[in-house]
Amino acid sequence: CKSRFEKLRLSNDVAKKYQEGIRLYNKKDYSKALILFEGLVQKYRGTAEAEDLNYYYAYTLYRLKDYTTARYKFKEFADTYPASKNAEECRYMGAYCYYLDSPKSSLDQENTYKAIDALQLFINLYPKSDRATQAAQYIANLRDKLETKAFDNAKLYYNLGGYDVTNYKSAVVALKNAQTEFPDIKYAEEMNLLIVKSQFMYAKNSYPHRQEDRFNEAIEYYNEFIEAYPDSKFAKEAKQLKEDSEAGIANAKRIIAEEQAMIAKYKALEESDKKRKDTTNNNSDNKTQK
């Protein structure tokens, strides 16, 4: 035996279906309402009731948290009935659905970018609307998320430096990229410090004859940092990095000098040995060993 709802669903009484759909919607039985609305939208196309029906249909999807379909239906409504009293609301809801569909910062941000575009479009269309302020706040939240993503992904290379030192080099590049992309990124201070730190760690783990240049670069980054944030809470830590870099340079120079002295010494020995061999043919082994 079929239920009353099932009988209605299979019937052709569109008017009754419409009424029942609205009733179910108001009763918050959204999944049943959706079944009826889905069947009705095609049949009501081009009629006076279509406007209200589509409005309810979009909201039903929204209530069911199917934001992907809902935002499409809201947009469709706003495009089809630009003169409707609900057009502004639907334009806003479409953008808001994108906003709700934006995932956490560590996942693909395609929907975040689309949400920003949609919210911005709303603000452009209805700059005086009460909802425009809220939309602007949402945009700020989304930009915040993008900044967090940029920061986290750049910092990842710093975190992976212990496993492969070239990751420190990548960290410097990635951190600078993130700053170029988001010039007023809220993590700017911490990022600048991380750049100094990464460059220092990269230099520290390099071959001695590469160290001077790389440490100097770290000192340069320190100077940029302290110029931008003279009162930074990281100032002490940064200064330490600078001092360690200077010590690193001195150390590298000493190692290279020692190395060169050693090479010179062996060369001298070799040459004097050669000379002796050339001048006196009867040179004995124990003399060279001396």
Binding site: G46, T47, A83, L107, D108, E110, N153, Y157
Partner: protein
């Protein structure tokens, strides 16, 4: 001057004027709501409009877009000073609500419906619809080889919708035509028989062709022609071409094909010169290129050596692996004389590109860092195609993404010599469910296993992260239960994190299990007997950079506890036994695909050892009872495995595999361990053999555990296993399905292997042999399922039915392990 006179008004296109719309009426509509149509036309009362202007054109456009009308006319009915009145005159036609087909198959129906697009719901019933429908269907069927399609229509009103019609299309597709004969003209060097072979999918009918016996398919024939010419070019006939071809009606059932071709002379490579190269000298490039003067000229070969080789030893790869992203080489045929072609390689090296930004798109479940940490093309490094490809492979090995859709896109920025790389990925279902009913120990066993390959432990207590489980950190959680009721129960759990601490590729794993086997009576019953096993193990593994970065090293520690209660058939009947062992494993894995590798190799060397208790405990092993002897098990075990994959030709892949295992003792008085032995033969599935921690090694063509040492007592050797084994496999594999949903391949194999009791008897060439065929299918949600038929050649003394024809079923075997 184009102008329009309405009621005395001159609508001049050069002097448009603004009017207020005083009202719009509609005539001709029967089913549609008049007000709505007026609204849709956007000619609303009170609005202003330029006349003539875009407003009127848009009104018609807007209405037309509804697809509800056969004709729309917009008339100016009245003009009253600044006010204009419109009348829209429409002709409504029945709408098409759907199609019904007769005379074609379901899949053809789907194809045709797709080609018909959104006509149902949009179209109206008119001649145009009949004609386009007919031509779409006829063309579709023609390409499938049906040349004599007949179509007629019937329409009936759709009971569910006013003014709507369902169009019934009756198709008589007739017989599919076959190819009677294929003839060539203009060929000199090539025989017609040979040329026919180059047409891969279009074949003459012949009595011996059982499959696809010469059916004609237009689409495939067109493809064949292109391949045909390419094939001739490859053979050195660089001028070869099809001048004309015709498909003619041979009789009602068949067609004939005539191809008139120009063969031209056969060409050879002449002088090959290189210009524009600075980074690498000509001598080096010549060596990489490898084609010498006098070889048969082939553009395909030339392209392959310049940029197309699979293993990266072409000229382009040399540059692309060293940062020269915009490298290009243009082989210009500078001179053609007689049958010789001189080629000048014009090289553009371009700047050396540094990687700037690396990002991932499409990861809707998996966190960025899980993917980014696997990527080897890193900011600040020079671009390398090789590392790009390897990164794709390693992203694939995560198991969370569809490998065929992982796509790295380099975006070079020539202004500053940098390149951004975006890795596009697509998530795929990676969790596995194992639900099986099997037969073991004479009883039905039910198994339920769940494996989550993209688990996120730190989100375990965050409600919003559940979808339906906390996911995205690339961790693996596996739960498994197996039972046949009161007699046997086994539960296990394992968890692993590939980047322990998130900073280094050090994997951490923990697993535990407990199982119980008994006669099903209650513990207080005097006749009760049973055995319980508990185990826990921890492991740490890391990737190595030396000798090369395919290597990895794993340490693990395992503790197993056996509690026996009146249990018959084991070493002692009541008491406890412990097995604490340490395992070191070094492996090298360069296989290029997880499920169906077509190249690369896998090597693994494992040493497992327990503490040598007999050195410091006070047990006299010469006189001790088994209970004391086995309280703390001691042994050392060595295993080696190698697998090797190579593409033979086309999709056919060769797999070679060799395995060896040895179980030794510290102390001859203690003797060889009864635990951890090897059981060779059969499907390799774990049954009730877990008792002594035996390792089950598959060997097709022999029944389970049947390959026992020569001269051993069959009963004892089969139940206890053997301390030494070796096994070799040679297998040819051919993929029949390779899609995201399933990978399936057929195999032909030869296996050989044997077991020994003592090392002095060991002879790696004295083996039992088998051959057979099989099929395997990998379904992401079930794992690998296989069926094999093997034939064992060698009798096993004392075990009748061990060899000869054997069927083996396997399910959800771990990939690449000891199986």
């Amino acid at each position: 001057t184009p102008s329009l006179k309405v009621n005395g008004l001159n609508l001049d296109y050069f002097t448009p004027k603004e009017y207020i719309i005083g009202g719009t009426t509609l005539t001709g509509a029967k089913y549609l709501d008049k007000d709505v149509i007026v609204v849709l036309s956007k000619l609303t009362q009170g609005e202003t409009i330029m006349l003539p202007g875009e407003g009127t054109a848009n009104a018609i456009k807007n209405l037309w877009a509804q697809g509800l009308f056969d004709d729309i006319k917009l008339n100016v009915s009245k003009i009253n000073g600044d006010t204009v009145y419109f009348d829209i005159e429409v002709v409504e036609l029945p709408r098409l609500s759907g199609f019904e087909f007769t005379g074609i198959s379901k899949s053809q129906k789907t194809d045709i419906l797709e080609k018909l697009g959104d006509r149902p719901g949009k179209s109206i019933i008119n001649d145009n619809l009949y004609n386009t429908t007919r031509s779409i269907i006829t063309k579709y069927l023609y390409e499938k080889g049906f040349f004599y399609t007949k179509i007629d229509y019937a329409s009936k009103p759709d009971p569910n919708q006013d003014n709507s019609v369902v169009l019934q299309v009756n198709i008589d597709k007739g017989r599919r035509v076959k190819v009677q004969k294929i003839e060539f003209t203009g060929n000199k060097e090539f025989s017609a028989a040979k040329l026919r072979k180059y047409l891969k999918k279009t074949k003459q009918r012949a009595f011996y062709k059982v499959f696809g016996s010469g059916k004609f398919n237009k689409e495939k024939y067109e493809e064949d022609k292109l391949a045909f010419v390419a094939k001739l070019h490859e053979k050195g006939y660089r001028d070869a071409a099809i001048i004309s071809d015709s498909v003619y009606k041979y009789n009602d059932k068949t067609v004939g094909i005539k191809i008139n071709m120009y063969e031209g002379p056969k060409y050879y490579f002449g002088k090959i010169t290189w210009v524009g190269n600075a980074k690498y000298n000509t001598e080096f490039l010549e060596k990489v290129f490898g084609i010498e003067k006098g070889e048969v000229f082939s553009e395909e070969k030339l392209e392959k050596k310049l940029r197309g080789s699979a293993n990266g030893d072409d000229v382009s790869s040399i540059y692309l692996n060293d940062g020269y992203l915009t490298f290009n080489v243009d082989p210009v045929q500078t001179k053609i004389y007689n049958d010789t072609v001189d080629v000048e390689m014009r090289i553009y090296e371009g700047p050396k590109y540094t990687i700037n930004k690396v990002s991932v798109l499409g990861n809707t479940i998996t966190n960025d860092r899980v993917v980014l940490r696997e990527i080897r093309t890193k900011p600040g490094d020079y671009f390398s195609k090789e590392l790009l490809i390897r990164s794709v492979r390693e992203i694939g090995q995560l198991g969370n993404f569809d490998e065929s859709k992982t796509n790295p896109v380099p975006k070079p920025n020539p202004a500053d010599g940098t390149v951004d790389i975006v890795y596009h990925v697509e998530e795929k279902p990676s969790d596995q469910i194992e639900l099986s009913g099997g037969f073991g120990g004479g009883r039905v066993i039910g198994t339920l296993g769940l494996t989550f390959n993209n688990f996120s432990l730190r989100n375990l207590f965050k409600g919003e992260a559940y979808r339906p489980l906390p996911k995205g950190d690339g961790q693996r959680l596996s739960l498994r239960g197996q039972t046949n009721g009161k007699f046997y129960q086994s539960y296990s759990f394992s968890f692993s994190e590939p980047w322990f601490g998130g900073k280094k590729p050090v994997s951490f794993g923990v697993s535990a299990f407990t199982s119980l086997q008994s006669n099903g009576l209650s513990k207080s019953n005097a006749n009760y007997y049973g055995i319980r096993l508990n185990g826990v193990s921890f492991s740490l593994g890391r990737r190595l950079k030396w000798p090369d970065n395919w290597f990895s090293l794993t340490h693990s520690i395992n503790l197993n506890q056996y509690i026996l209660n009146n249990y018959p058939g084991f070493l002692f009947s009541t008491g406890e036994s412990y097995n604490l062992n340490f395992t070191q494993e070094i492996s090298r894995d360069s296989r290029n695909h997880n499920i169906f590798p077509t190249g690369g190799s896998y090597l693994r060397f494992t040493v497992q050892a327990t503490p040598p208790y007999s050195l410091f405990n006070k047990v006299n092993y010469n006189t001790a009872s088994d209970k004391d002897r086995y309280r703390f098990t001691e042994y050392h075990k060595w295993k080696f495995e190698s697998q090797w994959f190579e593409t033979v030709v086309g999709k056919l892949v060769f797999k070679g595999q060799a395995q060896f295992g040895f179980l030794g003792s510290y102390n001859s008085a203690v003797g060889q361990s009864a635990f951890e032995r090897f059981k060779l033969g059969g499907d390799g599935m774990q049954g009730f053999d877990f008792l002594q921690g035996s390792e089950i090694i598959a060997m097709r063509g022999y029944s389970n555990n049947s390959v026992i040492p020569v001269g051993a007592n069959p009963n004892i050797a089969q139940s206890s296993g053997s301390p030494i084994f070796t096994k070799y496999v040679m297998e040819l594999r051919y993929p029949v399905i390779s899609s995201q949903q399933a990978t399936a391949f057929m195999t032909v194999f030869g296996e050989a292997g044997n077991t020994w009791d003592r090392f002095r008897d060991f002879n790696p060439f004295n083996v039992r042999r088998s051959v057979g065929v099989g099929a395997k299918i990998f379904l992401p949600i079930f794992g690998l399922l296989g069926i094999d038929y093997g034939y064992g050649f060698d009798n096993i003394p004392g075990v009748p039915d061990a060899n000869k024809g054997q069927f083996h079923f396997s399910i959800a075997q771990q990939m690449g392990g000891f199986n």
